[in-house]
């Protein structure tokens, strides 16, 4: 899928990736990735294990460094210098499979650290905003607890609130429910749906096909480091174009 060269500046997409490559030593993890995400669009990225889907979204906020090609977030190009990396990271929030809450801090402190240190908010302002987002993920009563005292689902909701405290324009979800016990998946997906309804631009790597059907505007299917198919959920699920996508869907839909 070709993307117009001028697109990034005339009508900035939320995310625009052009001819991006990522290598780990001799292994090419991502090959010639082109992807445009409109503002407010919800994308679900799926594919077999090792297909590069996590690496793709990790390149968008430079947790992983891409080797070739260009990445724009809200029209800001992600270059090598610290400044542009920082600007791009301020546009994006990320939720990890393993939550990655800071274990030595309470829930509230987890939510305060970035706004106070990176945005320079006062403790009071940051606390007001943190409590607002903790209420949004329906967990304000846990603010004084440490992560270890919460269930996995609660921890992941805190992680979402923590990311939202930085007021990101784009949210990146890296298999947010894969480390959860089954009974906790729903509460996290509900929180993500709420976020989607608020108009957040979202890129989600997930195996939750129910969520994909319901929330995604577009499904991206990856295999061996390439985007090999994309489309609206109905089309992708009912009539996948490629043999590999058909095979993948057979494997995961029981």
């Amino acid at each position: 899928m070709a993307t117009p060269d001028t697109g990034a500046f005339t009508d900035p997409h939320a995310v625009q990736i052009e001819a991006m490559y990522k290598r780990f030593g001799d292994f090419t993890a991502l090959t010639d990735i082109d992807l445009s995400v409109a503002k407010g669009e919800k994308i679900v990225i799926c594919g077999p294990s090792g297909s590069g889907k996590s690496t793709l979204i990790r390149c968008i906020n430079h947790v992983e460094k891409h080797d070739d090609g260009r990445i724009f977030v809200n029209g800001i190009e992600l270059k090598r210098d610290i400044k542009s990396v920082d600007r791009v990271r301020r546009e994006t929030g990320m939720v990890f499979q393993s939550f990655n809450l800071f274990p030595h801090m309470t829930v509230l402190e987890n939510c305060l650290l970035a706004p106070m240190s990176a945005l320079g908010l006062s403790r009071r302002e940051a606390t007001d905003s943190a409590m607002h987002f903790l209420e949004k993920v329906r967990i304000p009563e846990q603010a004084g607890k440490y992560p270890v005292q919460l269930s996995g689902g609660q921890q992941q909701r805190v992680a979402i609130a923590r990311a939202l405290c930085m007021k990101p324009k784009v949210m990146l979800f890296d298999e947010p429910t894969s480390a959860l016990d089954p009974e906790m998946v729903k509460e996290v997906l509900e929180t993500m749906k709420g976020l989607a309804n608020d108009g957040m631009t979202m890129l989600c790597v997930t195996h939750e096909m129910g969520f994909a059907r319901e929330v995604a505007d577009r499904i991206i299917f990856m295999d061996k480091g390439r985007i090999i198919e994309e489309g609206v959920p109905e089309a992708f699920f009912s009539a996948p174009q490629t043999e590999r996508a058909r095979h993948f869907l057979d494997q995961i839909i029981h």
Partner: protein, 232 residues
């Protein structure tokens, strides 16, 4: 004829001269640990640096001071370096030797602590655009510190006993003063039994401090941690 004089042993236990030596041992240990922590932190940070100009000297330092006996280091500093015009006196030489030696071990303990902090913690902090120095002081250091306490405690325990080596350069700590008392009355067992008891008491006291430290820095990862009061 064999004998052990319990009354003499008890006398030595409360001997003021020997108690003075205990204070010197404590002083050497505390100074060695504090100095070793500061220098060890610098060396650990150099060792973990991506710049080879920093990491190689740190590696050489650790290799050298862990690779040579403290006893030789002390003798060289006290009796060897004056040949080059560098004189530090008895206590000065002992402190320099203990700190340089301890720093090499603590540097490796500090490095292992930082390496044990999961990479996901740094990634989460990057993703949140938290500034680099804040990541160090607020995210990685506190977590590394908790992981460092058990090996750190071990190292303090070793150092406490290694201070006895400074007796060789005539620092009047427990060992040296025991030796002096022994030369006076030749009650070898009685004197050194008292010295042994002193070391055991000191080590046990440190064990208690270490347990407190572990509990304090582990409080947030204990399931029964007390929730903090949220002021809002």
């Amino acid at each position: 004829m064999s004998y052990f004089d319990p009354a003499a042993f008890v006398d030595y236990l409360f001997n003021r001269f020997l108690l003075g030596g205990v204070l010197v041992t404590i002083g050497l240990t505390v100074a060695g640990v504090l100095g070793g922590l500061v220098l060890g932190m610098v060396i650990a940070l150099m060792r973990m640096s991506e710049s080879r100009a920093l990491s190689i000297p740190a590696k050489v330092y650790i290799w050298f001071f862990r690779g040579t006996p403290l006893l030789i280091q002390l003798v060289v500093i006290y009796t060897g370096l004056p040949q080059l015009g560098l004189k530090f006196g008895v206590i000065g030489s002992a402190l320099i030797g203990l700190i340089l030696h301890e720093a090499a071990y603590l540097a490796e303990i500090i490095r292992s602590g930082f390496m044990s902090v999961p990479q996901g913690q740094r990634e989460a902090a990057w993703a949140l655009s938290i500034p680099k120095t804040t990541i160090f002081w607020r995210v990685t250091l506190p977590q590394a510190f908790r992981l460092m306490i058990p090996p750190f405690g071990n190292s303090v325990n070793s150092l406490l006993k290694a201070t006895s080596l400074t007796s060789v350069i005539s620092v009047e700590e427990i060992m040296r003063r025991s030796d002096m008392l022994m030369q006076e009355h030749f009650q070898i067992l009685e004197v050194f039994a008292a010295a042994t008891v002193y070391y055991l008491i000191l080590v046990s006291a440190w064990d208690i401090v270490q347990q407190r430290l572990e509990r304090y820095f582990g409080r947030s990862v204990a399931r029964d941690a007390k929730p903090a009061v949220v002021q809002h």
